[in-house]
Point group: C2
Chain length 476, copies 2
Amino acid sequence: MKTVLNITSKSKDITQWYTDVCLKAELMDYATTKGFIVYRPDGYSLWEEIQNYLNKRFKELGVRNVYLPTLIPMSLLNKEKEHVKGFAPECAIVTKGGNKVLQEEMVIRPTSETLFCDHFKDILHSYNELPILYNQWCSVVRWEKTTRPFLRGSEFLWQEGHTLHLDENEARAFALSILRIYEDLGRELLAIPFVSGQKTESEKFAGAVSTYTIEALMPDGQALQCGTTHYLGTGFPEAYGIKYTSKDNIICYPHYTSWGVSTRLLGALIMVHGDDNGLVLPPKIAPIQVVIIPVRSETNPEILKTCKKVADELSKKDIRVKIDDSNKSPGWKFSQYEMKGIPLRIEIGPKDLEKNSCMITKRYSEEKTFLPLDNIADSILKTLNDIQEGMYQKANDFLLNHIYECHNKEEVDDILKGHKGFAKVVSNETAEEENYMKEKYSATPRVIPFNQRLFQENDSLDDKKGEKVIYYARAY
Amino acid sequence: MKTVLNITSKSKDITQWYTDVCLKAELMDYATTKGFIVYRPDGYSLWEEIQNYLNKRFKELGVRNVYLPTLIPMSLLNKEKEHVKGFAPECAIVTKGGNKVLQEEMVIRPTSETLFCDHFKDILHSYNELPILYNQWCSVVRWEKTTRPFLRGSEFLWQEGHTLHLDENEARAFALSILRIYEDLGRELLAIPFVSGQKTESEKFAGAVSTYTIEALMPDGQALQCGTTHYLGTGFPEAYGIKYTSKDNIICYPHYTSWGVSTRLLGALIMVHGDDNGLVLPPKIAPIQVVIIPVRSETNPEILKTCKKVADELSKKDIRVKIDDSNKSPGWKFSQYEMKGIPLRIEIGPKDLEKNSCMITKRYSEEKTFLPLDNIADSILKTLNDIQEGMYQKANDFLLNHIYECHNKEEVDDILKGHKGFAKVVSNETAEEENYMKEKYSATPRVIPFNQRLFQENDSLDDKKGEKVIYYARAY
């Protein structure tokens, strides 16, 4: 049946498999601009679904969209020392404009804290204007040496939220409420489970007091940071002169949060669900949820008519459906739509017509069932919900089965050397520990999970009393 | 009543008035990055409504969204000679990335024909893959010496469509169908009428065979180009090597179109409808369509209750409504929401309660009426439709009254020296004529309208037999 498309096996070489799926499912293409990609229609539409989901959720919290400049004057970027130190090495720099050398060099935004702060200082005056809740959809540029489609590129698409609050409690609570929205996005749209928690001091955002994170686990046992929210304290407001007059007429600095997810989520989606036949999409995010394939319709015109009737009924229930009645062979079509990741296939042939039924095949489990054509739309709606739920459960089982409590160095060695998943350790969050993990396993502390049940008293890596649970892994 | 906000009068100084409205209606703010602006929530939401409208319309034609890189390698830009000549002088150039001087300089996209063509050459193989219909939402950078909010800036937001077709007829028809969508956008969403037609040879897009345009007329008699669609022939495909195999197995070049509208439309919206009290928004695009202001509600709690009931009823009919029950004075509120351009104001006070009615004020005409509270949502829906229609008619009357048939040089002089509007001339489209108009009046040929009724035999500017009707005007 694999007449059209051959891809590398996922278990044999996941790196090559990943590239094959990205290209052959027509999600992206490489651009001539080195390190940059073209987001093709089937890839970009996944991002649009993420945008729709998040815009709705953000709006419910009162967040409003804005747009700030692509370019940051160097002097503006330099105002917050920790921040610029973090980003300067990856900046793309504009030195000429309109046929002239610029008096001041400009940076293509790698992130927009500096621009938001520069704007906030002009618009904030009084306590009753707080909170200010802004979000921006845009692309950012960070010069990368090695790139991989969606996962790491010199340009990516993202949303970046920037908010100001009266006090630390409100700001932290807001950063956490956004993190919960990101978790919901994973569960409800992408069918991806995350470990959520806080970043260690070493891994937090340049300029943040605390960074919260959602981390997914890829099939090769490597972690993928999928979104972060930051409580930035008052450091940026102090550096950029953002002040307001309080109820008691005192000049105060607001408390700042920023947060974002990016097209990297598409990388997670491909990695977590895809298989040797290509992409596998959860129904909620799939641009086409159901493909109907007429079988031997050239011998019986009733078949195509029935296909169209079914498609009509599905459309009426807002199911995104497509009929492929081209003259390609059913085998070609099967593998084509498997490659594209369409969640559900319906086949209707002469025998189905006799029995007033059709055969459905779930993409993610390859499970085949016969369904009666009566009330087909309701049956399919239910099936799509089952698929969404089933895909999440499958991914969640994988995640939970690959978090390993490590009681000592030997167990850490077993997990991280074997690339098995998250090594869960009891830790003191020391530089020594992090260096040891980095040098020995190229592993980094991914997350201090919110769930902090200490599973033993002592530190997993030495004999001191342990303080907290940390998950280590290699990461994309 | 103007206790809060003072702006310059529109008739006295339209330039200062325009800037005042942009800033005080909180549509934008100036950024530290010179020539760049911040799109504030109330400005950006107008752009989001335009996006929603166009995405829906484009989708009906089968257009799909994609995203291509922000940066263009210089060598790629240089492949189409006419095109690069047109854009090179306004380019922002990246010369350093990741702390290194780049081997090849890169340009921040001023438009993306070169990138699309570079991608098209990789994905097009056969006639049955045509047409390819793509659109991109993004920002572009064009270095400008003098800038004005929304109308001309070093960065603006836009959509750029890029399509490939089998032949010239299909490509031209497609470019024209998009132009019709832009006209619909004007009428249905923005309440702005346009003159539509073709650009002269001198004014067409760099690299195009034909450019089609929609031109609006501003209150100061200057034209504003609001959107263009281009038939680009096979020039780009030839330069970039985009080929396909035809049904008859012949290698062919596809026919190319590109097209776009930008945030410049927000400038048109402000200019065309605004008045001395600030912004005036057509209901279809207004983020808030109706503001309800309780009057003397401190003396009677029933008033606020009634306001909330009315708001509820409006919301149920999908009317975007807001109650302002803050303790600011009604006068402050009136001028605040006038400045913000809210299309309709409802006041409810003690006397209204007695009569079971409310007073409504249309923003654009300042017309006041009493409406019964029974079936209020239906009455308001109808009123909002009337406002949308009324605003379009008012703007259309203004446009039609400011197109002047000029039979000779004296009449041209009267119109263009007086900044009265479009000088409609019978013309031979010569360089002499264009130079004369440019030097004497700083006027350019704006459009060769589709409606080509020659209103006299000879050219309006000399004694030769005239060929076509052209509209001249000064332009933003």
